[in-house]
Amino acid sequence: MARLQADVLIIGGGATGAATAWDAALRGFDVVLVDRADLAEGTSGRFHGLLHSGGRYVVKDRVAAEECVAENAIVRRILPDAVEDTGGLFVTTPDDDPAYGDRFMEGCRAAGLPAEEIPVAEALRMEPRLNPGIQRAFTVPDGAIDVWKSVWSLAAGAAAHGARILTYHKVLDLHVGDGGVTGARVRNELTGEELDIEAGFTLNASGAWAAQIVHMAGIEGIGVIPGKGIMIAMNHRLVNTVVNRCTMPADGDILVPIRTVSAIGTTDIRAADPDEIPVTQQEVDQMLDGGERLVPGLRQARALRVWAGVRPLFQDDRSGPAAADTRDVSRGHAVVDHAERDGVRRLLTMSGGKLTTMRLMAQDLVDAMCRQLGDERPCRTEHERPPGHEDGRHMQIGDRLRRREATLRDEQLICECELIGRSRLEQTMQTRGTLNLDDVRRQLRLGMGPCQGGFCIYRATGILHGVERLDGEEASASLTSFLQERWKGVWPILYGDQLRQARLDDWIFQGLLDVEHLPEAAAVVPDEELSAS
């Protein structure tokens, strides 16, 4: 079996894992990061897109609010190109108690959050689609954050400092010995090969899967209950400012303009399995109702796709000062020290948290590791920028359109909705060396626009075939798996414009290309599902 050695093994390539790799690599540790899938394919790739100002937590959870206030400013500084400075509004809808606004402002003051009450008329001028019945409005420094850009830059930064980032490497088992964890056995999910990683320390950043990992070290009594949240992306930006309902956190109460879409979310429903999170019609309706309350007419607008992510709700049998207190960690974060809790050294687990606070979580995790190792090295992530963010400019939604102007006449446009040209696509396929269109999708937003891949995926498949020299069968498999994945996101919201689009796409793929009968390809769109919805 192949072997690998490192100071630190990080399990999980989501926001937390990537930020941890960046932090540890900057402190001079030799890092290996593994994820069973692509980077940000877990909860991070399925989140809502909001760089929290902290406003959501000021009344209920002061600590979380203060963390957000600080981290919001830091993330803007260190990952500027992943952040759009949209600003945010908290509004009191006709269904809400205007008095909550006073508690909200009080909380903002206490948390150091620069919020300001503005006249309703001004809020409506800022966002003309807002519910005209709102009674109060407050501005906050919310932003939108692109998770793929963030995670990829942090991983690239870590790699530039020597870290090895192994995607599609699943942890099968932890090695335990000498009173602690000594590494892990992992399997390359693409080739099936197994690999032994010897590590001086192991950091468990596997989010909703964290309990599965600690069980591998024989640790009992920790469970993670996945809390499902669904979000619906609307076809274009109905608002350009993040709009929050000014009330105790509830379902469907935030509308986030992120890139070309606006996403309404979210819910919190207990699920049995973090890998099995179906979306129901009732949840979709609940979200659309929530959106309608903030922006009347949202139901008439085009819904593009729906997706779900899972919040890990930690459950710890052993309470006590040594263990993480799970009552309040659903939104805040805590480092679980298995040396103290279980007598298992060299293993720490990160529980809870938010994408907004990923940097702080990483710092806490690596600080705790340093303490256990007795090797204190100062954290540098507060000021250091990973590659790609040098100029300090925030991303703007028009950037792709602006870039496209330069190559308008020479370059073929492959994904028309998200404006991805041929060279960018080929380049990404080359540098990623991936055989999977879904990986390309996550990095470039290929096929994520209105037609949901209807017009670009057959083109991209042909190009991937050329670039990677996939044979016909592999190319077909890549195409059909992409279509299946997209279909999952579309069918729960098939009405109106998106239904019309689905019919057209269906004619293209079934009628014209007969994808169901490609060699070795599975069925794409079961007919019953179409007629059922």
Partner: protein
């Protein structure tokens, strides 16, 4: 009134129509401009696609949008109801905020002003406009292509003529919306319109205070000034409309402007004058066919043994009333009408005047010009004045409004 009432609901509806796009590409196959130049990425691209990347706070990122001529064909052909051309026009106004307005655009967007200045010195002004060296200077300094057709100043105004006469009383009253074209450049055509309407049994009012409807300002992205012009024009026409008098215009793009575009594109849906004006506004051919359908049109036209071609300009097609000019000309005995099936002549208002766009405009019109040339007609017929000037310049065939043909058939000339 809450702040929300000020919000431009119809304008938002135009923009929201981007949601209906299914990427079918039908608009692209019809767009006359993207078919002749690689400089313009086409309606699907600049409309529903690019619009998702535009936000008020960010400056307009795509200059190529400016090659859209605003002909409106894309909106007409889109099977899903995307208001592509309207989205483009709104985005172009935004683009102008960044690039600023060229002096040229300020000039050509105000035909009333040039008319007012040129008319008293028409002889000199026209010699200037026809002088090749001076046109070359204008091209260099202003960017108005020296080959482009520009109208002549008539040296007198239609309003002056109208002021001196009263229309004989009749049961049917119409108010003539002549706009700036007939007033400053083609007063003869305005007179003939009045004479024809009177022959057809209408008493014709000519409301005072008409200048320009603001369309050239709108298509050059100067929304603020355009709104002022629309308001002034609507104020001039509204009293007649409120009395129940039908408003009839001969400039098909200007009637469309007051009927629909100002409301949809300039966000003036709430203007009470404009509302009543737009509800009572007819393009003249549309109006006469309506009378004919009711059996109320006098049809004792005399034979006209002529061959004419007819081109329905894009803006006329924007009315969505078919091609009423063809129905009217079919009433004239002996007249042979050859219908052109080209979509656009290329000029699109002031588009083809511009140095950087003149060649595109000529390429767009090629098909139409060839059809007209092949037909060897006595006259070419077209409802829009800028198109007529452009077609006449390109083909050498005298090009007239349908009213002109009917005027002859009525024995009035």
């Amino acid at each position: 009134m809450t702040a929300h009432d000020h919000h431009d609901v119809l304008g938002t509806l135009m923009r929201d129509s981007l949601d209906h796009c299914v990427k079918c590409t039908i608009c692209e196959t019809f767009c006359p401009v993207s078919n002749v130049t690689p400089l313009f990425p086409g309606p699907k691209y600049v409309g529903p696609q690019a619009e998702r990347f535009r936000v008020p706070a960010d400056e307009s990122p795509d200059d190529s949008l400016d090659y859209c001529s605003g002909c409106g064909i894309c909106t007409q052909v889109c099977p899903q109801g995307v208001h592509i051309a309207e989205i483009n026009t709104q985005a172009r106004a935004k683009l102008r905020e960044r690039t600023g307005f060229k002096l040229r655009d300020r000039i050509i967007a105000r035909p009333d002003l040039t008319g007012r200045l040129g008319t008293p010195a028409a002889g000199l002004a026209n010699r200037t406009l026809r002088s090749r060296p001076l046109r070359l200077v204008a091209e260099r300094v202003l960017g108005i292509d020296h080959r482009a057709a520009v109208p002549s100043f008539a040296g007198r105004t239609f309003q002056a003529w109208a002021k001196g006469r009263t229309s004989p009383p009749a049961q049917r009253r119409v108010a003539y919306f002549h706009g700036c074209g007939a007033n400053w450049y083609e007063p003869d055509s305005g007179q003939r319109t009045v004479e024809l309407l009177e022959w057809l049994g209408c008493q014709v009012d000519v409301p005072r205070g008409q200048s320009c409807c603001g369309l050239p300002l709108q298509s050059n992205g100067m929304f603020g000034a355009a709104r002022k012009y629309v308001r002034r024009m609507a104020r001039a026409l509204a009293p007649a409309a409120r009395q129940g008098i039908d408003l009839v215009g001969t400039s098909t793009s200007c009637t469309l402007m007051l009927k629909r575009e100002a409301r949809e594109i300039l966000g003036m849906d709430e203007d009470p004058d404009l509302r009543v004006v737009s509800d009572n506004m007819y393009d003249i051919c549309e109006y006469l066919v309506m009378l004919h359908e009711r059996g109320e049109l006098r049809t004792d036209f005399r034979p006209l043994p002529l061959t004419v071609t007819y081109h329905a300009p894009c803006q006329q097609q924007g009315h969505g009333v078919g091609k009423p000019a063809l129905d009217l000309m079919a009433l004239v005995p002996g007249l042979r009408v050859i219908e052109n099936d080209a979509t656009c002549c290329g000029i699109a208002g002031t588009y083809g005047l511009k140095r950087e766009k003149f060649d595109i405009a000529m390429d767009v019109g090629k098909g139409l010009f060839a059809q007209i040339g092949d037909a060897r007609p006595d006259l070419a017929v077209c409802d829009s004045e800028t198109c007529r000037w452009h077609i006449e310049q390109a083909t050498g065939v005298k090009t007239v409004h349908p009213v002109e043909v009917l005027h002859r058939a009525a024995g009035l000339s």
